[in-house]
Amino acid sequence: MIEQYLQVALEFVKEIWFQLDSQFGLEGTEAFKFIHPYLLQLEDNPAYMGIAFAALVLVPFGLYKVRSISREREQKLDDLMEEMEEDEGELDENDPSRLRRPDDEETATALDDDEEGDKPLFEMEEEDPPPYVQILEKLDAEENEDELHVDTQKVMGEDKVIEPVSSELAELQIDKDLSEFDSDPVESDSPHDQTIQELQEDGQLTELEGVLSPDDPFANYSELDDDEQNRAIQELQGEMESTINKLTKQMESTPETTSTIKDLGDIRIGDVATIDEEFTLDEEFPLEEPLETSEPAPEPLSLEALDLANEIEPAIENIEPAIKEIETKLPPFQPVPERDYVIEDRPDRQVDSLINRLKYFQENLDTRFHHDEKRELTSAPKAVDIAEEHRFVEQQSFATKKAPVDNKKYMEVLESFIFLKDQNKHK
């Protein structure tokens, strides 16, 4: 029975093949000639045929499945990224708390996402803001004239104030929430502990990179008695205030920099853009120093970087079109993810992105410069070598003979090769 079905199927396939062959002449194609012996084997061996059919079905299905899974994951990732960007967009980029912990934004956003599905652990009531928010509000109240904070309040609004600005801070809150199940809630809710919590967090905030110094008075807080604890708290508070003031002043002060990065505006990018044709060392050297000054910008964006970026921005805006033009001409780099960010309304990302782009630009120029430098360096001795070789060849009485282009000379040379020295009677 099965054989009959197979027979019918084979005849059907053959019929299709004959039709296709007569229409398109498939039998004469290279591909058919290549697979022909394999097809014959398939026809002879039912096991091969079965494997082939299975492969024909399973392989495309597997590919489709793999593709669809990866596509779903990419979709999820995109959604998550979009969501994160939306959340970030609502925050004030000038908020110093963001600058302190730029890496924690994602964690915080992730935590926000988790809160929706895992409320018992992360549930937070808006009416009861966490302690660190209280301390921030207190600081804001003390420094009402602080422009940055005014802007932060305007942009962030009341709802956003309650969002954790640091994952670590949020984790502390989580830990606290978890500890509620184990410890006495009265103790944890006491104003004393709350203040300690606030100061702990503020103590961390004074360290831009979040690393506590070994001589931190708050480090061994639990081992101190009440008076010492109070003193430590006061010291920490004072230190925190002074740091914030320092930072605010630094941000407010107009940058009168001596950085040579301003010279970027004077760089003749047009010359660099045509680097392939008109590359000269003179044009390349001035680029070295100014661009190098931009390189030390730390990856987690600091205030210094922001200042530097403010300086760079005008120059960068001038060279932006030129950079784009160069990028199209230059060989492909590794992708720079920062390029995808919206630059206009995100100064920190803009600076980050531009600094990265400048870095790549600089690296590429350096690569080309060094490459050309090497080529020049290697070519110079080479010329000497050639001269040496030439001299050597001449000493050995060898002459480089090349087939003459002129027909008459070619014929003469040919004759000289055909006949002996004495065979000149024909001339």
């Binding site: 070619y410 040919l414 055909i418 006949f419 065979q423």
Partner: protein
């Protein structure tokens, strides 16, 4: 039975010029144009035509030429799978096969002359030894092949000179003095002063005036056709022109330029695939070059077109010079 069979021998002196490839494709082209063609491998000792045609384990080979019981020469013909084209293989040749004596060479020549076909194409071996030259000289149309390299041009010149001098030697076999002038196989007794046709003629005028006319006719009748293979530029083509000038100047031979074949990867691919490029892609540039050469040899204008896996031939016979008269 001696028929008016057209024998075309393809030689050239140096090895590696593409003689076998060109000879095979000339045979295929002529067969496709409707002639009954026999392709014969006379490169004894290094035969390879069967490989170019994709014939595995040929049924007959070199040894069969010398079997006493081979009554019917046609029985040695091998089918090539191409209409009108049969093949005589030289496969199965053992080391030393290239050094068979004159008697055996004559036996093979007799075999060739008794074949029934419109055209017989002989693929010659390399070099200028008499076993090769004698096959070249039995042909009615001589084709010499060269490549643009100077060494190749030199070898082709030497080949043409050897063929011419061998013709003279065979024509005056009874005259030992003439033999000394034209046969330098015995250097001790050879007169090596007559190394060009002009110098040879001077000797004939001086010593053998009664044979001068015959000598002149031999020179006049020798009109090999030249094919330049592996051409990459116009400059390469000039080497062919230079060779013709050289031949005319020193040998007084009016060689004709039959055409050229460009250097192409498709040719090498076709050899690797054992599919003649004229069949694989008759509209490719090398195929067009080959069609022009066949046209020059057969006095026709040929055009091969491949459609739906089938090759169609357009053939137009050129009018002879009789119209001009």
């Amino acid at each position: 039975m001696t028929s008016q069979v057209n024998i075309i021998a393809v030689g050239g002196g140096r090895g590696g010029k593409g003689k076998s490839l060109v000879c095979t494709h000339l045979a295929i082209g002529m067969a496709l144009s409707g002639q009954k063609v026999i392709l014969m491998d006379t490169d004894f000792g290094a035969s390879n035509l069967h490989a170019l045609l994709g014939i595995n384990n040929p049924a007959h080979g070199f040894q069969d030429f010398f079997k006493e019981d081979v009554s019917n020469h046609q029985s040695l013909l091998i089918d090539t799978g191409i209409s009108n084209l049969k093949f005589v293989s030289g496969a199965g040749d053992n080391p030393g096969s290239a050094n068979i004596d004159t008697e055996k060479i004559n036996k093979v020549i007799s075999f060739i002359k008794n074949l029934e076909a419109d055209t017989i194409l002989l693929d010659l071996g390399p070099g200028t030894n008499y076993n090769v030259i004698d096959f070249f000289n039995i042909s009615t149309q001589n084709v010499v092949l060269t490549t643009p390299e100077m060494t190749s041009v030199m070898k082709t010149f030497s080949f043409i000179r050897s063929a011419l001098f061998r013709r003279v030697a065979l024509a005056f076999q009874d005259n030992s003095d003439i033999q000394k002038m034209v046969d330098h196989s015995n250097p001790g007794s050879a007169d090596i002063e007559a190394y060009t046709t002009g110098l040879l003629r001077d000797r004939f005028v001086e010593n053998f005036p009664e044979q001068l006319e015959q000598f002149n006719n031999i020179v006049k009748d020798f009109t090999p056709g030249l094919v330049v293979n592996r051409v990459r530029s116009k400059k390469d083509l000039k080497t062919g022109d230079n060779l013709l000038k050289l031949v005319r100047k020193f040998l007084e031979v009016e060689a004709t330029f039959l055409g050229y074949i460009i250097e192409s990867d498709s040719i090498r691919d076709s050899v690797d695939e054992m599919i003649p490029f004229l069949i694989k892609d008759p509209q490719s540039k090398p195929s067009e070059n080959l069609q022009q050469i066949i046209g020059a040899l057969t006095n026709t204008d040929l055009q091969f077109v491949k459609r739906d896996g089938r090759i169609f031939v357009s053939k137009q016979v050129r009018l002879s010079s009789g119209w001009e008269v």
